[in-house]
Amino acid sequence: MENLERVKQFSEKIAQIKQELAKDVVGQEDIVNNVIIAMIAGGNVLLEGVPGVGKTRLVRSLSRVFELPFSRIQFTPDLMPSDVTGTDVIEKDEQGKMNTVFRKGPIFANLVLADEINRATPKTQSAMLEVMQEHKITVGKNNYVLAEPFFVLATENPIEQDGTYPLPEAQMDRFMFKLIMKFPQVEELMDIVSMTQITMAETANAVMDGETVLEMRALASTVPVHTDAMRYATELVTNTHPEVKDASSTAKNYVKYGASPRAAQALITCAKVRALMNGNYNVSKEDIDALAYPVLRHRIKINYNAVNERLTVDDVIALLIKETRKTAK
């Protein structure tokens, strides 16, 4: 009974989150949904979008809704790892004694916006990504654990690629989702302009705290996944590999590198959240199909054949889903 209440509250909370976020973020429902899924699932998101589409606003609104500390890190080529994580400084205490004090970096927040992460040097990127993976920072001999829930939303500007340091595939795998924030539609843009004419400040209210997020995460993990759905998710990830035995024709034709096992983990974990968000109590193949795009698009690399045929990563993912559905029957 208690869990039933919790499940009911889960859906209500999600609805509230969306409702509050809608106050600050116009449109982008898929982005909002997936970001919420990633947060509850405990993953990080790589957001790709042109400047001004609301990436920073979204994260700030999320911090307001979840009532979680937020920080924004603008990555530049001269940004050092210590600028992100923090560093030890020598301070004179009240007694005048010189002590080494660790000054926390902007990473010490629950919600972090890593803006234009691809502009940072690989060294700084790796420092960031280590935090994202392990939720702790090692400075010198000391380890500093970050507070949960810890969520990083990193952005990439798809336009300005000069002087950038594209994230290596291994690092990209750390992100649970890669979301593409598209330019708003006319009506959406009108709404944005209208809204921001009134105020530029975020007006979303808090509807939960970090503890609630963790509870929702725990609840989502109990959603059952039947064997066929599990097999479907794993087959989908396996089908991204052209080098395996009985590889899918899509992978053989269009994929250079396939997704890692983290993709399968992400699919199932996020599918549970999505199912619960939609009022379902089990994971279905539809959940997996819906999540395949954000989970796989940054984890597989298409080959020249796909480029030659003007296929995008999402097109290849669609082909993979189609092929996997066919073989799953």
Binding site: N3, L4, T222, V223, H226, T227, N282, S284, E286, D287
Partner: protein, 500 residues
């Protein structure tokens, strides 16, 4: 699991059951139709037990197989429901976690059941409906076909070919030839006793010939007839005994007489004897003595012969001996030498004809008998192994005797061919023309009867390769030689001339 899923499960089981029953019935009907078809297309009918056993077995096997094919496991049914009613894997999850009792799973289960409650089982598609109906239609079609096809009639197989069995039959030609033979015997120059003896065998043989049913019977009878008539002639003819009796005499003149008798050259023989009796000094006593010696020896030798008193040769020999004894009794001192010689000549001349005629009669007897035997062998195609010995053996002491080539056969005396004396006017059975004809016609070159037939055979033989063309010329020369040019003389084999 309750309620919602169960009703679908029941529905699905019912569908599977109906399907399996229909499949079973269809299979049984198909089997019956198939059996009927087999029955109709074969001449033999199937046992009625098959019409029961096979359909029952087919029903059982098909319905069982269909049951397992159509009956869906819960997992499969769950998938069907999820896909059919867009339930987002609710039912599959419910079925898989049926035994899990966590809060979330219970919630999920209740949610799935609630969804299923709102769906009527009638909406569940009847899986396999069309295939089941098709199977039933096919089965009915097979049954109808089996009923409609007419029964194959029993075809009486054609009787197996009968190998021609040999049917023993005395042909009309054979009967005719035998009748002609009997007639010719009666008209021949053989002595009456011989004719009677021969016809006494042949006439009953002809009369009762229909009673002969097998070849063995025929050949046995023929062999008997041959032996009888041959033995009769051997015993009837006395020449051999007469000859044998005087041939072994120690007196040279008697030996010469025996030789002359055997060759039927008595005139010449008598001249030789006379010359032997005569003396250059015209000594009557010596001549008389020689004659007396000859006569005494002849009489002595002849006395040993087991003669038949009425036999012509015996009578002629007796007369000759009597006359010669009379001559031998002439007193040489009383009668002159010439008287003795003339008396001797007269005695010889008076008896030479009788002796010759007696010899000729016995020759005729032998010739006719030999001809009858040969004709019997020829008419009935008697195998060699059935032919008994006949014709007598060559006379002792006559080995190497040959007919004097300087003495051509005189008319009426017949012709010797291969040592066999054939009196003239004898008939022969012409093998090639299958008719009885005078033997002279055979050798006179009657084109139709013999030579033409041979020529035809030769031509056919050359055409079909059975006669070598190199032999053709020789054969035609042989036929030309036979055509009347050498009748009565110079016949090939002159050794061992068979006499009576």
């Amino acid at each position: 699991m309750q309620g919602g899923f169960n009703k679908f499960r029941k529905k699905q089981r019912l569908i599977a059951l109906i399907n399996s029953l229909v499949w079973g019935i269809a299979a049984a009907i198909f089997a019956v139709g198939g059996l009927l078809l087999i029955d109709k297309l074969n001449t033999k009918s199937l046992h009625v037990v098959l019409y029961v056993l096979i359909p029952v077995a087919t029903f059982g096997a098909s319905s069982s197989a269909a049951w397992f094919a159509y009956k869906q496991k819960d997992k499969k049914l769950a998938k069907t429901l999820d896909e059919r009613f867009a339930l987002n894997d609710r039912v599959q999850t419910m079925v898989e976690f049926a035994n899990v009792q966590t809060d979330m799973v219970r919630l999920q289960r209740e949610d799935a059941q609630t969804r299923l409650q709102d769906i009527s089982p009638s909406q569940l598609q009847w899986k396999g409906l069309w295939s089941t109906l098709a199977a039933f239609i096919v089965a009915v079609a097979m049954l109808v076909t089996g009923l409609a096809v007419p029964k194959k009639t029993v075809e009486t197989p054609p009787p197996p070919p009968e190998y021609p069995t040999y049917v023993f039959e005395i042909t009309l030609a054979q009967r005719t030839a035998l009748g002609t033979l009997i007639k010719n015997v009666k008209e021949s120059r053989a002595e009456d006793e011989v004719k009677t003896a021969i016809t006494a065998e042949l006439e009953p043989f002809l009369a009762n010939i229909d009673e002969i049913e097998t070849e063995i019977e025929l050949y046995t009878e023929l062999a008997r007839i041959i032996t009888v008539i041959d033995t009769f002639v051997e015993e009837h003819n006395t020449y051999k005994r007469v000859y044998q009796s005087i041939r072994n005499s120690g007196l040279e003149t008697v030996q010469q007489f025996a030789i002359g008798l055997g060759m039927n050259a008595l005139p010449t023989t008598f001249e030789t004897l006379l010359a032997a009796f005569e003396s250059e000094e015209k000594d009557g006593a010596a001549t008389s003595a020689a004659i007396g010696e000859f006569t005494t020896e002849l009489a002595t030798c002849f006395a040993d012969v087991d003669e038949v008193a009425t036999d012509g040769l015996v009578i002629a020999m007796g007369d000759l001996i009597a006359d010669m004894q009379t001559v031998a009794a002439i007193d040489p001192t009383v009668f002159p030498y010439d008287w003795i010689v003339d008396s001797t000549k007269k005695a010889m001349n008076d008896n030479v004809a009788a002796l010759a005629n007696a010899l000729m009669a016995q020759t005729d007897n032998r010739a006719v008998t030999s001809d009858v035997i040969k004709k019997l062998i020829s008419i009935f195609a008697m195998p060699e192994e059935w032919i008994p010995e006949w014709g007598g053996k060559p006379l002792t002491g006559l080995d190497g005797m040959q007919q004097n080539p300087n003495e051509p056969n005189k008319p009426g005396e017949g012709i010797i061919i291969d040592g066999i004396l054939y009196p003239s006017n004898e008939t022969v059975y012409d093998y090639y023309t299958k008719v009885i004809c005078e033997y002279g016609k055979v050798f006179e070159g009657d084109a139709y009867n013999y030579k033409a037939a041979i020529n035809t055979l030769i031509s056919e033989g050359i055409a079909n390769g059975t006669i070598n063309p190199e032999v053709e010329e020789m054969l035609r020369a042989y036929l030309d030689a036979l055509s009347g040019a050498e009748v009565g003389g110079g016949n090939g084999d002159e050794s061992g001339a068979e006499q009576v």
